[in-house]
């Protein structure tokens, strides 16, 4: 079971969160070609080890989080808000 330290709510059980996906994907602009979108949507790395991923605190503050998690051990290295403005707020409050 994974415990996630939400920057807003504190440490909570993973059952409060929903997994999003790969947080490193740069989604192309809406007018980009089918080719670029195909790359962004369908091609995923299958990382063994730490990967950056998004999680949604669905049953909490509703924040989308950027989490560094090991796919092998579930160890979590960092939890940050996805939104850059919120990220700054959290960093300034440290």
């Amino acid at each position: 079971m994974i415990r996630i330290n939400c920057p807003y709510c504190g440490e909570r059980d993973h059952s409060e969160f929903s997994y999003g996906g790969d947080a490193t994907i740069k989604y192309p602009s809406l007018d980009s070609s089918e080719k670029e979108w195909t790359k962004a949507i369908f091609f995923r790395k299958n990382i063994k080890g730490f990967q950056l991923e998004t999680w949604h605190h669905t049953n909490g503050c509703r924040m989308w989080l950027e989490i560094e998690r090991s796919t092998v051990t579930h160890e979590i290295r960092s939890v940050k808000p996805c939104h850059p403005d919120l990220k700054k707020v959290v960093e300034n409050n440290k």
Partner: protein, 985 residues
């Protein structure tokens, strides 16, 4: 075998006599007994019949590893099969019976299987019955299915009750610094050490009292330790099994709250399923004594040596009078002494020749001797023994009990759950736990320590390890070296018997013999995992706690390899069986999942609504008048809507407030159709696509102000859409100034539909001019007041195809709104209508819902190409054009009529071409209804190529599940008022 209760032995309470029933006969036992100890004290030797051969079986152990005494406890809806008699505490009135036998375990008709052994050898089922499906459907499979019911009956375990479970179960959670599994000497030492260093400690014990193996010591009294432990603030959980270890130091526990009580408090759950989140886990789960495989090693009266010590000193039961102990290690000698002191005649056969042991002389030690055959059937008559495994020189000893010790296996199960492979230790002939980076420490005999002082030292070391790893201390510690016997153990797993067809059991519970293992090897199943599956070794509910190592050693022997080269099987949770009831906890019946109701739920019921579940919501299904059936009712309701007016609760739709200066831009990006030119005071139907170009959801968005919208979504996708909008704003379009808020619960909504709907609303609003055709045109939105000054939002939106309005008020005003609307609708002979009529109305119009938008359908498939803007880019706009979604052969939305209009059909019907009725056909019917307007059944669904390919062809609807077939005519999905004149009226 004549066991008897000894006067001065045991920790049972002789002042509390308990009566219990075994196979319909009454017996007596004492408080502190297990069912097994009480059965032994009553001289009951045969307690079950084996799985395949129906051989009489007795009690092999005194704990969770039991693989013989599996019994059924309780009656009727509380009938619990496969209960280990060795761990079932006795209570007054307990009713237990043997299983796998007819009429009873002493006289079992299926015992004939014992003589038909060759039919039950491993792989027999596979080879004989399975055929080679799927290539030979109906051949092997049919034979198997024919025989299966007989074989399952003959070879099976006890049967579970089919009645609803009357007990309740609970899920509970807790946190601690250190959880310690097992309250033996090591676990208690660890708990005390950790608690003295101010850690928050939970100590878990599967038994009813703490002490672990010390409970088999004559003088041991747990009450002193209990007090000490409680004073230190340690939380002790007895009758609680740590059945699994999970990520991040999570331990799953099963607490048996009332299984030991004759009259449990009804407010208590039967069992509690605990999720413990610890910072560190210490496992002192002990070790399990192994038996030895030789012919007839399963005759009642065979037991592990340590079990007889427990029966003697914990329960005061001497399990035999003339006892032969067979061993390959030092651990049995203390027991031999105790048993002979207690009055038994004891002989020890030690397979070793050179060893030194200090004992009193009251029992005989025969060096270099092994047993190779037991004579007897329901009880032991005598034992054939020989020297040095050379059975040419044999002799026979008369005895009534044979105790076995083939060595000890540390309980590494919990560590194995974490994927840590144990390592084979040649010196101690057992698997030892390997190190792990996780915060888990193994202590006591589960790390291969055989003497008590070493165990205690390891407990202190384990607690220190925990403190160090938690960063609380930096103290040096050391663990004692595994082992601890004076003389080395000499591996002994099987004594071969030359007579053909010997029954030398490796796995008692699944009746796997050493010959089965050899057969598996001959047939090429040499990987341990294959061996397991082919022979079912270790796959019974004891999970091979006693027999696995013997099976491995036999396979190693056959392959000329060492045990570690053959491998070890991976233990998976649960350590001991966990009931399904405990897993589901309170999530049963009505509480299976959350229930959502609308604010006018009671109002709907009071007005005659029959309810139906839609997702988590309870929604009105239909409002029957006297004697009306569902179809009478919905046909009347739908007819009334088309003729006059109807009112329908639509609160369950998702509702999202979208605010901020970039709201319009935001909507324009997420909807496939244009939103940039939507005026304030107007609503628009919109479709959202996923990134991959497939339809995600549809709904309406109302522009309430320059920068404020009110969005509705479908009932089923509301939560998903909300998360999606948040994801886009927080991860992708972080520069947009938009705020989204779920307001689904805040607003109660109804649809007022039908030609008279405007007149009804006219009577309900304070200012009737707001709902005129001019002031509120089609798709117009207004914020106004219902009578009684109730603020409301009204949009002229139609799902039914009629002139219709959606009216929303704050949830608190739901009932007032319903009263008001209903009072006025009645004046026009209106009706309340439910989901079934709503469905009929929308199918007539060819409107899609979740049944059609199933996550595979594109805008074009749904016939909504006009909703895809060509003037802008939006989510999914690039991907909806990809080749596979543009294929001419895609299934496209159409309408269906039965070719013979008197016929009916069901949703789920597969659409096929004539003379080619097979497989997935060329389409499917997704929604059907009787159309009150057209007066026959209609449907919508999908067909490859769509209307223009098939409009002049008769197709076939195949419904194999209902054994139905009908001819179909393909029509436009817009079956009633295709031009939409009514809703614009």
């Amino acid at each position: 075998m004549k066991p008897s209760r000894l006067k001065n032995y045991g920790k049972i309470n002789r002042n509390n006599v308990l009566s219990f029933t075994w196979d319909n006969k009454k017996y007596k036992g004492f408080e502190g007994d297990t069912l097994a100890s009480a059965l032994l004290a009553n001289n009951i030797g045969v307690v079950g019949r084996s799985f395949k051969y129906h051989r009489p079986r007795g009690i092999f152990s005194s704990g969770v590893e039991e693989s013989g005494a599996l019994v059924t406890v309780g009656l009727k809806d509380r009938r619990d099969p496969n209960v280990r008699a060795t761990t079932q505490e006795l209570y007054d009135g307990l009713k237990a019976s043997g299983q796998n036998a007819f009429p009873n375990v002493n006289f079992d008709l299926a015992g004939i299987n014992n003589y038909l052994g060759r039919f039950f050898a491993s792989g027999f089922y596979y080879k004989t019955f399975m055929g080679i499906p799927p290539f030979e459907w109906g051949k092997g499979t049919a034979i198997w299915m024919f025989f299966e019911k007989f074989i399952r009956k003959a070879a099976g375990m006890g049967s579970a009750s089919t009645l609803p479970d009357p007990d309740s179960y609970e899920h509970a959670h807790d946190f601690c610094d250190v959880i310690i599994v097992g309250s033996g000497p090591s676990g208690i030492a660890a708990a005390i050490e950790a608690a003295e260093k101010k850690l928050d400690v939970i100590l878990v014990e599967q038994d009813s009292i703490i002490g672990g193996d010390q409970l088999s010591e004559y003088e041991f009294d747990s009450s002193h330790i209990e007090n000490q432990i409680k004073n230190l603030g340690i939380k002790v959980m007895t009758r609680t099994t740590a059945f699994g270890l999970y990520d991040n130091c999570v331990v799953g526990l099963l607490e048996r709250v009332t299984d030991h009580l004759s009259l449990p408090d009804k407010t208590l759950p039967r069992q509690r399923f605990w999720t413990i989140r610890a910072k560190h886990i210490i496992v002192g789960a002990g070790a399990i004594e192994r038996h030895i495989a030789f012919n007839n090693n399963d005759i009642p009266g065979v037991m592990t040596v340590n079990a007889s010590k427990h029966y003697l000193n914990r329960y005061g039961v001497l399990t035999g009078k003339k006892i032969v102990i067979s061993t390959n290690n030092d651990s049995v000698y203390e027991t031999a002494e105790l048993l002979s002191e207690a009055g038994a005649n004891v002989t020890v056969l030690d397979s070793r020749t050179n060893f030194e042991i200090e004992t009193n002389t009251t029992f005989e030690i025969r060096r270099g001797y092994v047993p190779y055959n037991i004579n007897g059937s329901k009880k032991i008559d005598s034992l054939d023994i020989s020297k040095s495994e050379n059975i040419n020189k044999s002799e026979t000893i008369n005895c009534d009990q044979v105790l076995l010790s083939g060595g000890w296996s540390p309980a590494v199960h919990l560590l194995s759950h974490r994927g840590v492979k144990p390592k084979w230790d040649y010196e101690n002939a057992c698997f030892l736990p390997s190190d792990t980076k996780e915060n888990i420490t193994m202590i006591g005999s589960s790390r291969g320590l055989w003497n008590k002082n070493d165990c205690i030292a390891s407990g202190v070391a384990g607690a220190t390890d925990a403190l160090n790893r938690l960063g609380i201390s930096k103290t040096n510690y050391f663990f004692p070296k595994p082992g601890g016997w004076k003389n080395p153990i000499k591996p002994l797993y099987e004594v071969k018997y030359k007579k053909s067809r010997s029954k030398s059991f490796v796995d008692y519970q699944h009746d796997v013999t050493s010959d089965d293992v050899r057969l598996a090897h001959r047939e090429g199943f040499i990987s341990v995992e294959h061996l397991k599956r082919y022979t079912t070794l270790g796959m019974a509910n004891d999970q091979g706690k006693m027999g696995n190592i013997i099976g491995l050693s036999l396979m190693a022997d056959l392959l000329n390899k060492e045990i570690p080269e053959v491998g070890t099987t991976v233990f998976r949770p649960p350590y001991t069986p966990v009931s399904i009831g405990a897993l589901s906890g309170r999530n049963v019946g009505k509480h299976f999942r959350p229930l959502r109701v609308t604010p006018m739920h009671q109002w709907n019921i009071d007005h005659g609504a029959k309810m139906i579940e839609v997702g988590l919501y309870q929604r009105p299904w239909y409002y029957p008048k006297e004697n009306e059936t569902l179809s009478d009712s919905y046909i009347r309701e739908a007819t009334t809507v088309r003729k006059t007016v109807g009112i329908c609760d639509v609160t369950s739709l998702g509702k999202i407030a979208i605010q901020g200066q970039d709201s319009t831009e935001f909507l324009n990006r997420i909807y496939s159709n244009g939103f940039s030119k939507l005026q304030v005071g107007k609503a628009r139907y919109g479709i959202m696509l996923r990134d991959d170009g497939i339809v995600m959801d549809d709904g309406t968005s109302w522009r309430l102000a320059e920068n404020e919208y009110f969005m509705t979504t479908s009932t089923g996708e509301a939560a998903k859409v909300m998360s999606w909008l948040e994801e886009l704003l927080q991860t992708r379009w972080t520069n947009l100034s938009v705020n989204v808020t779920s307001v689904s619960e805040q607003w109660a909504g109804v649809s007022v539909a039908g030609p008279k709907s405007r007149e009804v609303l006219n009577n309900c609003v304070v200012d009737s001019s707001v709902v005129t055709n001019n002031n509120l045109p089609f798709m117009g939105v207004t914020s106004t007041f219902l009578k009684g000054k109730i603020p409301c939002r009204i949009a002229r939106i139609s799902f039914s195809g009629e002139l219709a309005f959606e009216v929303y008020v704050k949830s608190d005003f739901a009932n007032t709104m319903m009263d008001l609307l209903w009072e006025n609708a009645k004046k026009y002979d209106g009706c309340l209508y439910g989901l079934e009529a709503l469905g009929a109305l929308r199918v007539e119009k060819g409107h899609v819902t979740a049944a059609e938008l199933d996550g595979r359908v594109t805008i074009d498939d749904a016939g909504l190409s006009k909703m895809a803007s060509t003037k802008k880019s939006y989510i999914g706009s690039a991907m909806r054009k990809r080749g596979v979604l543009k294929n001419n052969d895609r299934e496209v939305l159409v309408g269906f009529f039965p070719a013979n209009l008197k016929e009916t059909f069901n949703a789920g019907t597969i659409v096929c071409e004539k003379n080619n009725i097979k497989g997935q056909g060329i389409g499917r019917i997704t929604s059907v209804t009787y159309s009150p307007e057209l007066r026959h059944w209609i449907g919508i669904g999908f067909v490859k190529g769509g209307l223009y390919r098939w409009k002049d062809t008769t197709l076939v609807g195949a419904d194999p599940v209902r054994n139905k077939q009908m001819n179909l005519k393909i029509v436009s999905p817009h079956m009633v008022d295709p031009k939409g004149e009514k809703m614009h009226a």
